[in-house]
Amino acid sequence: MSALSVSATFAAAEFQTPSIEYSKLMPMLIVFGVALVGVLIEAFMGRTGRHQVQLILSIAGLVAAFVSVTMLAGDNQIAAVGAVAVDGPALFLQGTILLLAIPGVLTMAERSLDRGGVFTSAGSSTPGSEHERVLTATGVTQTEVFPLTMFAVGGMLLFPAANDLLTMFVALEVLSLPLYLLCGLARRRRLLSQEASLKYFLLGAFSSAFFLYGIALLYGYSGTVRLSGIAEAVSSNSGSDTLLMTGTALLAVGLLFKVGAAPFHSWTPDVYQGAPTPITGFMAACTKVAAFGALLRVLYVGLGGLAWQWEPVMWGVAILTMVVGSVVALTQTDVKRMLAYSSIAHAGFILTGLVATDTVDPDTGAVLGVSSVLFYLLAYGFITIGAFAVVTLVRDAGGEATHLSQWAGLARRSPLVAAVFTLFLAAFAGIPLTSGFTGKFAVFSAAIAGDAAPLVVIGVVMSAVAAFFYFRVVVLMFFNAPAPDGPAVAVPSPLTTVAITLSVAVTVLLGVWPTQVLDLADRASQFVR
């Protein structure tokens, strides 16, 4: 096509000002607005009180955004000229992310466990240098973690709501880039932290290149990046199948990487272990929620007509993810690494629900594949945030004591902390009366309704394997003698206490009385197309 015809195209298509429904985008606008104000505070405010102001501002922003999500509840439309979907799954996941980000930010703000907080005084200083000593002595600390976190949260809100692949790609990068940085800002064990940051960055950039190539091929196939347009092209079966298949596969690689599914999981243990623990908890919970939301939307809305093609692949990925996560976790000796493998296994369990596709519950009219995944993500997110918050409390002179041998006899030092951690491990394992059980029940029954019974059998077997390594930790904490120079359990400030209490409350509540939230997930299970 020559330059002439390009300009002819321009002349032909009359330019129209796009109409943007700002009220429908309020949650994202609030979070991004708070992030920008946070950057200004970082630049212009004196260092005394900056930490408190940033903390209060972030929490207020998250709460305000959550309120605006609840006010949008029940909406089912496409906003911003087709770029953003405001529908049940998007709003449910946005609410989940905002609720999870609140305890996440609270644990990040904790300062009484480590002098000066979890994060380094200045990201650019070298550990052990004169510069660092001066900063530590004078108590100067940068607080850019708060705006960075808010940018990441904003990207996470947009990711599951993106209705075209361009918006989805931008959201993916907006959520990932701040996380790469946050991973490298630990005060203790800075070299590990920076190594985690570099590994996460390189593998993340590598995977988003695959994601992007997939988008380009799907664009070549359908001539549009809008999910509904791709769905139309798939149903009318126009265009080259090669482009469609390779595009779908490459797009899935990018999304499965973010989800942490095998065989694209190799970054997870390294990054989860090296990153500062509050960031690990935030990342493990919120990124997974956002990425599963985007995966659901792409597979159901954009490529729903292709389900018979991608379903067998997702079966394979789900089985591999469950097996790798559960089996490799058995050999782990580091708590954070073990929780990382457990998060891989949970990604597999969630994928079993996703495989149920469009199976509709005859009683409630809920799309089972969506509603079960929504509920599982909420339950799993709170267990994860809580478990990682507990890990920050077990400390020795070198900072957090994450080696499992150091956790022996922890119940003698602090029965309460050991009991809380046991609750989280029981919920991970899916013991009844915890949210983990309800979540597993939901995804497995969805998979059975979707004729994926063999997958459920493997899921149950792998849950049993996973229960073994969870309870090994429980036995270690309760029935082993503590080492004389072992770590102590630090008493946190109210910030972490609130975060852990909130997680415990949600974990127990969703286990004992899940009806309301299950109903909500059922009602929120329809994608707008």
């Binding site: 070298t126 790609f169 990068e173 064990r189 070299l191 590598f206 070198g398």
Partner: protein, 119 residues
């Protein structure tokens, strides 16, 4: 010009990028290979845009977004690589093996100062 030529060229460029990421051991070179992959995608997007005579010019618009985001990504990536280099005096990925699968036992490192000195 037939569509096949730019698409195959983009595919080859992408493959060269993948090879670079997998074969290079220097973080900067890996970063450059990732950029090569992104630019292969850009070529693809523009080629499809022109071939499809897209009224909305979605492919070209997308390319502008990719260029912007790739620039942000490089800025951030170089900062991280620089930080690692300043602390370890190497940007070789093979030397970054503190985070790994086998069990080194409980760390006896008591503070960051000694961690740096032990290097």
């Amino acid at each position: 010009m037939p569509l096949l030529m730019p698409v195959v060229l983009a595919c080859l460029l992408f493959a060269v990028g993948i090879f670079g990421v997998l074969a290079r051991r220097n973080a900067i070179l890996v970063l450059m290979s990732v950029e090569l992959m992104l630019n292969a995608v850009n070529l693809n997007l523009v080629a499809f845009d022109v071939y499809l005579r897209d009224q909305l010019l979605a492919g070209q618009t997308f390319t502008l977004f990719v260029i912007t985001i790739a620039a942000a990504e490089v800025g951030l990536g170089l900062a991280i690589v620089l930080l690692v280099y300043r602390n370890r005096e190497t940007a070789q990925l093979d030397d970054l093996h503190q985070l790994r699968e086998d069990d080194p036992g409980p760390p006896d490192v008591r503070d960051d100062t000694r961690e740096t000195a032990a290097r």
